[in-house]
C-alpha cells in the first residue's frame, strides 16, 4: 500500500466556543476518491477547507504531501498550489475572461510562460467542454459552465489533490449532470479527490470510500459498497433513508 498523501490526525477545531471538528482522523492515499457526506452544519466543508488551510485547525496535525500545516508554514502558498479546490459558489474572477481565469495562477504563481499557460488552459477547457467560451466573461456563462470552468481553473495548476466543496449544490438540476460528468472524467484519470456532496449516485459510481459526518465527527467511514449496502450506525441509516 502506498504512502498516504493526506494525513489528518486528532484534529479539533472551534469557531469561538462552538466545536466544529471533533477528533478527526483520516488518511487519503494517492489516487483515492473519497466522498464526504452528512447533514449541513456537520463540519464537512470545514474539514476540507482545513486541508488547504483556508481554515486553521487548533489541535492535531494535518500533513499534506509531507508538509505539516501549522502557523509557521512558510510556504503555505506552495502547498495550496498543489491542492486544487472547487467551491459551491464557483468563485470565478468576474473581471477576467474564462481563459484569463485559467491562466492567471499558472503565469503568476508557477511562473509559466504565457503561451504555455494558454495552451494548458485551452486543453483543460476542452476536457470540460467549454473551449468555445474561452473569451467570454464568467457573468455570461450558465452555472454549469461556470462550475466546469472552475474545475478547469483548478486543474491548470496541475494539482496532486482536488477538493470539491459541494460543487453541484448551487446549480439548477439540469446542469448538475454536466458538472458531475466532468468530475467522473477526472476521477477516471486517476486524480486524488475529496468530494463533499449530496450526490449519492456520484458517490456510488466514483468513490472508493464514503465518510459520513455529523456534529463535527466522522460517524462512519467505509468502502462505498459497504457504506450503502450495510451502514452500521443508526444515524447513517437515517440519513441515507432520507437522501436516497
Amino acid at each position: 500500500m502506498s504512502e498516504a498523501i493526506i494525513k489528518i490526525k486528532d484534529v479539533n477545531k472551534w469557531f469561538g466556543d462552538f466545536q466544529v471538528l471533533k477528533n478527526i482522523n483520516l488518511e487519503v492515499i494517492q489516487k483515492q476518491k473519497i466522498v464526504v457526506c452528512g447533514p449541513s452544519g456537520s463540519g464537512k466543508s470545514t474539514l476540507i477547507r482545513c486541508i488547504n488551510r483556508l481554515e486553521e485547525h487548533q489541535e492535531g496535525n494535518i500533513i499534506v504531501d509531507g508538509n505539516e500545516l501549522t502557523e509557521d508554514t512558510k510556504d503555505i502558498e506552495k502547498i495550496r498550489a498543489e491542492v486544487g479546490m472547487v467551491f459551491q459558489q464557483f468563485n470565478l474572477f468576474p473581471h477576467l475572461s474564462i481563459l484569463d481565469n485559467c491562466t492567471l495562477a499558472p503565469i503568476w504563481v508557477k511562473k509559466m510562460p504565457k503561451k504555455q499557460a494558454e495552451e494548458l488552459a485551452m486543453n483543460q477547457l476542452k476536457q470540460v467542454q467549454i473551449q468555445d467560451q474561452a473569451n467570454k466573461f464568467p457573468g455570461q456563462l450558465s452555472g454549469g459552465q461556470q462550475q466546469r470552468c472552475a474545475i478547469a481553473r483548478a486543474l491548470c495548476m496541475q494539482p496532486k489533490i482536488m477538493l470539491f466543496d459541494e460543487p453541484t449544490s448551487a446549480l439548477d438540476p439540469e446542469m448538475i449532470k454536466e458538472v458531475l460528468d466532468a468530475m467522473v472524467n477526472l476521477a477516471k484519470q486517476g486524480m486524488t479527490m475529496i468530494v463533499v456532496t449530496h450526490e449519492m449516485g456520484f458517490a456510488k459510481e466514483v468513490a472508493d470510500e464514503v465518510i459520513f459526518m455529523d456534529e463535527g465527527m466522522i460517524v462512519e467511514k467505509a468502502n462505498t459498497k459497504e457504506f450503502f449496502a450495510n451502514p452500521k450506525s443508526d444515524r447513517t441509516k437515517l440519513f441515507l433513508s432520507q437522501i436516497l
Binding site: N52, F87, H95, A105, W108
Partner: protein
C-alpha cells in the same frame, strides 16, 4: 357629435378636448412669457390678484382637458404619463415651467444684455449687469497668480506638455497597453514633477527661479489638485489594505492614521503644515511651503480614500479571497490581480466624490499664503481701483470650478461604464 363633458374628458371628442386644452395651456404660457420678457400684462383689465393667478388656472384647466387616457396619440400619452398624471402633477409641471420662464430674463440681463466687457477700468462698467471688464483685466492674475508676465509661457508649455503626455493612453496599440498602468501610475507623475520643478519653478538650465509664493491662480489650483490626487490615491489604498491586515501593528497604525486625519479639519492641518511642522525639522532643513501643503492635503484626503476603498474591499464576497488563496496566490498577488481590480471598480463613484471634494478644498490653501483661483479673486476684490465686483469674481470662479468638477464627474461615469462587469 357626442355630448361634451368638460369635467371628464374622454376619447369620443378627442380633438375638441385636445385643441381647447392646448389653447388654454398656450395662453397661460404666453401670458407668463410676455409678462416676464416684455413686461406686458395681457390680462391687465382684470383685478391684479386674479390677473396674477390666471395663468395657473388656465394652465391647470388646459392640462386637465388634455389628460385623456389611451388617446392613441403616442406623444400625448407620453406627455400625460410623464408630467401630467394628475392635477397635483400638472401644478408642479406648470410651476417649474413658470419659474424657468420668469428667471431667464434677469439672468440673461445680468450676464449678457446689461453687462459690460469693453474698456479697461472700472469706469467702463456703466450697465446694471455684470462687469466682465473686471474679469478681463484680471484674467492673467486669476490664471497665473503673481507669476511674472514674461515668464508665463513656461506654465503654458508645461501644461500643454502634461496634457499631451496624458493622451498617450489614446494610442491604440496592444503592446503599449500593458505598460499603460505603469506609465500612468509611476512614470507620468515623475515626468509631471520634473516638468513642474524645472520649467515652472526654474532655477536651472538658465531659467529664472520663480519662488512658489508667486505661483497662483487657476494654474496653482491645477498643480495642487493634480499632485494631491496622485499621492492620496496610493497612500489611501495602502491604508485601506493596512486596516484589514492580519498583522496587529499594521492594522492599528492604519486605524490610528485614518482616524487622526479624518478627525481634524483640513484648515488646521494646513496651519500645522506651515506653522508647526517646520519647528520639528532641523534648522538647515528646508521644505517648500507648496510641497508641505501638497503633502498635508494628500495625507488628509488619503484617509478618506482609504475608507472608500475599504468599503469596496468589504463588498467583495469571501469566495474571491478563498479562490485566489486556493490557487496558491500570496497576499500581494491575490490583491493585485483579484481583489483590488474588483474593489476599485466598485468604488469609482466614491473615489470620484472624494476627488471632487479635494479639488474644491484647494482654495483653503490661502491660510498658508498660497493664492489659487479663489485666493486671487479675494485679493483682486480688495484692490481699491476695483472695489465692488466680488459677485462677478465668485460667479467666474463658480463657473470654472463647475466645469472642472463636471468634467471629472463625467470622466468617472465613463470609467464606471467602461469597467462594468457582470457578476
Amino acid at each position: 357629435m357626442n355630448k361634451l363633458n368638460f369635467l371628464k374628458p374622454d376619447k369620443d371628442n378627442l380633438t375638441t378636448y385636445l385643441y381647447s386644452g392646448a389653447f388654454l395651456f398656450l395662453i397661460a404660457i404666453l401670458d407668463v412669457f410676455l409678462g416676464s420678457f416684455f413686461e406686458i400684462n395681457i390680462t391687465s383689465f382684470l383685478p391684479s390678484f386674479i390677473s396674477s393667478i390666471l395663468p395657473f388656472i388656465l394652465g391647470v384647466v388646459g392640462l386637465h382637458l388634455i389628460r385623456i387616457e389611451f388617446s392613441g396619440i403616442h406623444n400625448l400619452d407620453l406627455l400625460n404619463k410623464k408630467i401630467n398624471t394628475n392635477n397635483f402633477n400638472a401644478v408642479l409641471t406648470l410651476l417649474i415651467i413658470f419659474i424657468i420662464i420668469k428667471s431667464i430674463p434677469p439672468i440673461m440681463n445680468w450676464f449678457i444684455l446689461d453687462a459690460n466687457i469693453a474698456g479697461d477700468s472700472k469706469e467702463a462698467c456703466t450697465g446694471t449687469g455684470a462687469c466682465w471688464t473686471y474679469i478681463k483685466i484680471w484674467l492673467r492674475r486669476f490664471v497665473y497668480g503673481m507669476y511674472p508676465n514674461e515668464l508665463q509661457w513656461r506654465i503654458n508649455i508645461s501644461f500643454f506638455l502634461l496634457i499631451a503626455l496624458a493622451c498617450v493612453g489614446l494610442i491604440p496599440s496592444e503592446k503599449l497597453k500593458k505598460l499603460l498602468t505603469l506609465y500612468y501610475v509611476i512614470i507620468y507623475p515623475i515626468i509631471a514633477f520634473i516638468l513642474i520643478y524645472y520649467l515652472i519653478s526654474g532655477g536651472a538650465f538658465g531659467l529664472e527661479w520663480v519662488e512658489t509664493g508667486a505661483w497662483g491662480g487657476l494654474s496653482l489650483t491645477f498643480i495642487v489638485s493634480f499632485f494631491c490626487l496622485i499621492f492620496c490615491f496610493p497612500v489611501g489604498m495602502f491604508l485601506a489594505l493596512g486596516r484589514r491586515s492580519q498583522l496587529p501593528t499594521v492594522r492599528y497604525i492604519s486605524i490610528g492614521f485614518i482616524e487622526f486625519w479624518r478627525g481634524v479639519p483640513l484648515i488646521t492641518v494646513l496651519f500645522m503644515s506651515s506653522v508647526m511642522f517646520p519647528m520639528f525639522l532641523p534648522e538647515d532643513f528646508f521644505m517648500d511651503k507648496l510641497v508641505r501643503v501638497i503633502i498635508a492635503i494628500s495625507l488628509f484626503e488619503a484617509a478618506y480614500v482609504a475608507e472608500v476603498i475599504r468599503g469596496g474591499l468589504q463588498a467583495l464576497p469571501r469566495g474571491q479571497y478563498d479562490a485566489a488563496k486556493s490557487l496558491g496566490m500570496g497576499y500581494w498577488k491575490m490583491h493585485i490581480f483579484v481583489i483590488l481590480p474588483q474593489a476599485l471598480k466598485l468604488v469609482i463613484p466614491g473615489i470620484a466624490n472624494t476627488f471632487l471634494a479635494l479639488v474644491k478644498d484647494t482654495p483653503l490653501i490661502f491660510v498658508v499664503g498660497l493664492l489659487e483661483l479663489v485666493g486671487m479673486l479675494n485679493l483682486a476684490k480688495t484692490n481699491p481701483k476695483w472695489l465692488g465686483f466680488a459677485m462677478e469674481g465668485y460667479v467666474f470662479a463658480a463657473i470654472i470650478f463647475w466645469i472642472i468638477c463636471y468634467a471629472m464627474s463625467k470622466y468617472s461615469y465613463n470609467l464606471e461604464l467602461k469597467y462594468k462587469t457582470e457578476r
